[in-house]
């Protein structure tokens, strides 16, 4: 299993491409800034959203029960899934009940988290993702590399090749307008022929039992309103208390995500249309455990805008796939270790801790603090590599003996000056991609003893 460092190294082979990836995401970050500056009460919105989410987390069990009762009263079937597998089984059972072997799906990072597509495919069910970016990565047999912009890592020529192979566009065609039109025709046919549609959930309102799905393309609506059965998968943290709180979150979401004032479609589903069946699957999959981790529970406030990724200097230059986790970037790096500490132990270290992620977060999650705290937990629990663990242990030992520390410093300075190859070589991970500093003539300690020590 390759870790973040090894995977970023692969991504970094093509430097112009890395620069392009970096610049594209930075452009989106700038659009976010422009949108934010047009709202004088922006900081009030962030603070209010953060407090609403604090309240949600502190009263989640009651809100879930309230939401369930209202959804049932609205004529919706409500299911509860403790983990990914149970979620997938529930979806499969609904498909089996309706004897359906083909489903159309709107973007849902939760179904990615549960690996629903793989599960259904293994059970002989065809799933077509209808968000254009998701359809592109699906055709390319890849996973999204970004939660809002699933194929941000792909060049239009590569997309053209995929469409030529699967959708019959002309060879070499890479015009976004023409490619989008081809996808429109292909997916329209899909929407019109599928009896079951699955969507994600952006927000669910405890007070009314309705849920809101936000898209720019309208794919969730095309799927849901044409299908006989609409299934919505939602993480249990998506609840908000009252309908009026939607005003706060809808103002924050897209401005943070892409710099748009609002998504093109913010659809409020409350009850099935005449003759239709509507299901909601409430999924835990580790969320209740994260709720109990005091230092990390704030990560459950996330509304999945992706702004922390767009601003992250590491994400922009290492690509989403280097995080080998469904949710990449800074927020993903604090969510993933909750699911599996061993598998994702490298991710909290894939950060400069610069704090840019926390600064743009619309719900004020202290992302960089949590990354720092995860590092400590992971080291303590023994989940970091031997190199890192041994060098940290050695360092602890050295600095606990002042004389040894002074000797080591002196030796180090001498070696850097007289035998630079001992330090400046491939075996020293710190040397990689860094110029080593010129060693000072004397240590701070020596300087202090000489200049201040006598007084």
């Amino acid at each position: 299993m390759k870790d973040h460092a090894a995977l970023s190294e692969e991504f970094n082979i093509d430097e112009p491409r890395v620069n392009w990836h970096d610049e594209t995401l930075w452009l989106i970050r700038q659009k976010r800034d422009k949108a934010v500056h047009g709202i004088p009460e922006w900081e009030w919105l962030r603070e209010t959203a953060s407090q609403v989410k604090n309240n949600v987390l502190s009263n989640l069990s009651a809100y879930l029960e309230q939401f369930e009762a209202n959804a049932l009263a609205n004529g919706v079937f409500v299911h509860w899934a403790a983990d990914a597998n149970e979620h997938n089984e529930i979806i499969h059972s609904i498909l089996r009940k309706h004897q359906v072997e083909r489903m159309v799906k709107s973007k849902s990072m939760l179904t990615e988290e549960c690996h629903l597509n793989d599960y259904l495919t293994e059970n002989g069910i065809e799933v077509i993702d209808s968000d254009l970016g998701e359809r592109i990565v699906q055709l390319g047999n890849e996973h999204p590399s970004h939660i809002v912009l699933p194929c941000i890592h792909k060049k239009k020529e590569e997309i053209g090749d995929l469409f030529h192979k699967y959708l019959g566009t002309a060879a070499g065609e890479s015009d976004p307008q023409i490619l989008t039109e081809a996808a429109r025709q292909h997916l329209r046919e899909t929407f019109l022929t599928r009896k079951v549609a699955l969507t994600g959930v952006n927000f669910a309102v405890a007070e009314t039992g309705e849920f809101v799905v936000c898209t720019n393309e309208g794919n969730a609506d095309m799927g849901a309103h044409l299908a006989d059965v609409h299934i919505a998968s939602m993480g249990i943290e998506k609840i908000i208390p009252e309908r009026k709180h939607l005003g706060v979150f809808l103002r924050l979401l897209t401005r943070s995500a892409t710099g748009q004032p609002i998504t093109t479609y913010s659809s409020h589903f409350k009850s099935p249309r005449q003759g239709q069946e509507m299901h909601i699957v409430l999924v835990d999959n580790g969320r209740s455990r994260q709720l109990g981790r005091e230092n990390f529970r704030n990560s459950l406030k996330c509304i999945r805008c992706g702004s922390c990724m767009n601003t992250c200097p590491v994400y922009r230059r290492s690509g989403g796939h280097s995080y080998h986790s469904v949710i990449s970037g800074p927020i993903g790096s604090i969510l993933a270790p909750n699911l599996d500490m061993k598998e994702f132990a490298d991710l909290p270290f894939a950060s400069t801790l610069c704090g840019s992620c926390s600064n743009v977060c619309p719900v004020k999650i202290d992302i960089h603090n949590q990354l720092y705290k995860w590092r400590q937990v992971l080291v303590k629990e023994g989940y970091v590599s031997n190199t890192k663990a041994i060098s940290m242990k050695t360092m602890t030992w050295v600095i606990s003996f002042p004389a040894l520390f002074a000797f080591a410093g002196k030796t180090g300075r001498w070696a850097m000056k007289n035998l630079p190859f001992l330090v400046n070589n491939k075996l020293n991970p710190w040397y990689k991609a860094r110029e080593m500093p010129v060693p000072p003539k004397e240590s701070f300690r020596d300087w202090y003893v000489k200049n201040r020590g006598q007084k």
Binding site: T24, S58, W80, N216, G218, K270
Partner: protein, 192 residues
């Protein structure tokens, strides 16, 4: 124990002590010409906004921009150019609609979105499946922001409703904006 009980018990055991909900009183005043700002923002996100005196003017515009093709509308005033009653309840029967003309209950000045509830949709899929969408809204129904919108709407949602802000769009291919992803290729707002 069922998964429901298990999840609720875990959540209850792990949730922190109760904190209160914040007030939603915005700390700033909104001093904007609501209609002017709505028009500016809506145009920026790809809508065509037209102030009209009445349905005769709407009809003229439709004749100029959208004919020929199937037109469906919830307005009896448009009976001579549009189907104002849908006989087939199957949403698939709307796949060939060129233009839908529907009434929006309110517009939001800060983001150019319009609220459309199921009561005015004829069929839920109609504003999404048509090639072009036109929404008619009263100028007096433009509110300042989303907080105002929800204050006016209250908890009123018959079963389905949506804020619609412009034509269907995508920028998934190298961030190039393309209008007309799956839904309407254009959006016209008639301010009446």
């Amino acid at each position: 124990m069922s998964s429901r009980e298990k999840i609720l018990a875990l959540v209850k055991a792990n949730q922190p002590s109760l904190t209160s909900l914040p007030s939603l009183d915005i700390p700033v005043d909104v001093h904007l010409d609501l209609v002017e700002n709505f028009t500016f923002i809506a145009t920026n996100i790809g809508s065509r906004v037209m102030e009209v005196s009445g349905f005769d003017e709407i009809k003229e515009t439709i004749a100029k921009l959208f004919l020929p093709g199937r037109i469906v509308s919830s307005f009896p005033e448009l009976a001579d150019i549009a189907e104002i009653q849908l006989t087939d309840p199957d949403p698939h029967s709307l796949a060939n609609v060129n233009l839908a003309v529907l009434g929006a209950e309110l517009g939001v000045s800060e983001n150019g979105a319009l609220w459309l509830s199921e009561n005015n949709m004829m069929q839920r899929v109609l504003p999404f499946i048509c090639q072009h969408l036109a929404l008619v809204v009263n100028k007096k129904s433009i509110v300042a922001n989303m907080h105002e919108a929800y204050r006016v709407l209250g908890n009123n949602n018959p079963g389905f409703g949506a804020f619609i802000a412009g034509p269907s769009k995508t920028a998934d291919i190298e961030q190039s904006l393309v209008l007309g992803a799956h839904g309407p290729r254009s959006m016209t707002v008639f301010l009446i």
